[in-house]
Amino acid sequence: MRRFFSVLSAVVEKDLRLEWRTKESLLIMVVFALLVLTLFSFAFGPGGGSGESARAVQAGILWISFLFACVIGLSRTMGVEREDAGFSAMYASPADPSALYLGKVVSVVVLMGIMELVGFAVLAVLYQADVWKSAGTLALIAICATIGIAAAGTLFSAMSARTRTREVLLPVLMFPVLVPVLIAAVKATQAHLGGDGWADSRDWIRLMLVYDVIFLVAASVVFEYILEE
C-alpha cells in the first residue's frame, strides 16, 4: 500500500510541478471557462434572467463551460505524456497502473478545482447567482462531478493520446459517457442556486457518487492495457 501511494503521489507531484512551470493547461482552462461564461452572460443579459429557468440555464452554462475547458486541459496534460514518452516509461516500470491512473486523476481534479473556483466566482458576479448561500453543498457537488469528469476524461484522453485524431476523438469518446454526470451536476447545482436545495439535489449527488466509484474502479483495471504500446 505504501508503494501504491508513493507512485500515486509521485505522479501528482510530477504533473503539478510540470503545470506550475508552464501553466499551459490551467491558464487555458481558466481563460476558456471565463470566455464561455462571459459570452453567455452577454447572450442572456446582466444577471442571466430570474426564476427557475434562469437558474437551470446558469447551471447548464457553468457545467458545459467546465466540461469544454476540461477537454482542452486534458489534451495538454496527456500531450506531455505523449511527447515525452511518459506512457511508455510508466508501462516499462513495475508501478501499479491503478496508482498511475489515480495519480493522473488527482492531478486533473486539482486543476479543474482551481478552474471551478474561478468559474463559480464569475457566476456569482456576472449572473448574480447566490453561490455563497449553499457554498458547502455546491462544493460537494463540484467535487463529485469533477471526480467523475476527471475519471472518464483521464481514461479517454490516455486512450486517444497516441492517435492522430486525438483532438476530435477525445470529446467524441468522452461526452456521451459523461451525460449522466453532467445531468446530475446541472440538476444538483440548479437546486442549490434557488431550488429546494438538499431535497432536490440528494439523489443527483448519489448518482454522481455511484458513477465516480464505478468509473474509478473500472478505469483503474483497464488502464494497464491503455499504457501498452
Binding site: K14, L18, R21, V80, S88, A92, P94
Partner: protein
C-alpha cells in the same frame, strides 16, 4: 536468464519478429546487429515488457515478464523517456519512485550516477535545454537508477560526439563487467559490437540470422548475415 522463446511480433499485417528464440545468461553481454527494420528495437522492447509478443514468450529467470520482473529491467530506448519540463534530478526522483527505490536512497543514487555519467553540474537544469549527448546520459541514468539485473540499450551511442560516446562507452563497459548482469545493446557500429560484447547476434527480416561468440566471429560473417532475410519482413 533472459529468454525469448519462439517470439513473433506483428504490427498490423507486418511481422517485425518471426519465431525468434534467444537466451542470454547472467554476466553475458550481447550485441544485436542488423539493418534498419530488422527487428532489433522490437526485440529489445519485447524483452523490456513494453511490447507483448504476438506469439511465443519472453521470460526473465524462467518467469514471464510481470510487473515485478520489469523492476529488474532497465531500458534505454531511442526516446529518452524524460520529461522535458523537469530537471534531470526531478526526472530521476520521479522514476526512482516508480521503480520503488527507497526514498532515503534516492539522493545518493542520483548523485553517484550523475558523477559516473558526468552530469553532476547539469542535474538541476531542465531536460529541454540539454544537448542530445547529455539527454542520452540522463536517460542512461534513468535506466540504471534501480540497479537492474537486465540492461537493454537501444543504440546507446547513436548521435553522440566522440567525447560523449567515449564516456558512455566506459559506463556500458563497466556495466558489462558486472558478473550477474545481462546487457543487450543494439548498434550499427561493428567495431563497438566486437569490442564490448561477448556474443554477436544478427537479425534479418525479424529472424535470427547469425549468433556467435565475438571471439569466433568475423566482420565478414556478420555482414553476410545482414542480408539473410528468409521470408519475414520487418
Amino acid at each position: 536468464m533472459l529468454e525469448a522463446l519462439g517470439v513473433s511480433r506483428r504490427y498490423g499485417w507486418r511481422w517485425a519478429l518471426r519465431d525468434l528464440s534467444l537466451s542470454v545468461s547472467p554476466g553475458e553481454t550481447i550485441a544485436l546487429l542488423g539493418k534498419n527494420g530488422s527487428g532489433k528495437t522490437t526485440l529489445l522492447k519485447t524483452f523490456a515488457g513494453l511490447l507483448r509478443p504476438t506469439e511465443g514468450a519472453v521470460r526473465v529467470n524462467g518467469e514471464p515478464i510481470s510487473r515485478e520482473a520489469k523492476g529488474r529491467i532497465g531500458l534505454l530506448s531511442h526516446d529518452p523517456m524524460l520529461y522535458a519540463g523537469l530537471t534531470i534530478r526531478e526526472n530521476l526522483g520521479y522514476f526512482a519512485r516508480l521503480f520503488s527505490v527507497e526514498s532515503g536512497e534516492i539522493p545518493a543514487r542520483v548523485d553517484l550516477l550523475a558523477e559516473t555519467l558526468g552530469i553532476v553540474e547539469r542535474l538541476d537544469e531542465p531536460v529541454r535545454v540539454l544537448s542530445q549527448g547529455l539527454r542520452q546520459r540522463a536517460a542512461l541514468a534513468r535506466a540504471l537508477l534501480h540497479e537492474p539485473e537486465v540492461v537493454l540499450l537501444d543504440e546507446p551511442f547513436a548521435g553522440l560526439d566522440p567525447e560523449a560516446s567515449g564516456r558512455l562507452e566506459n559506463v556500458v563497459r563497466a556495466l558489462c563487467e558486472g558478473r550477474e548482469r545481462i546487457v543487450a545493446f543494439t548498434t550499427h557500429d561493428l567495431s563497438k559490437a566486437f569490442d564490448m560484447a561477448g556474443r554477436i547476434v544478427v537479425l534479418a527480416g525479424g529472424r535470427l540470422a547469425y549468433e556467435e561468440n565475438a571471439e569466433n566471429s568475423s566482420e565478414e560473417a556478420v555482414l553476410a548475415a545482414f542480408d539473410e532475410s528468409s521470408g519475414g519482413s520487418a
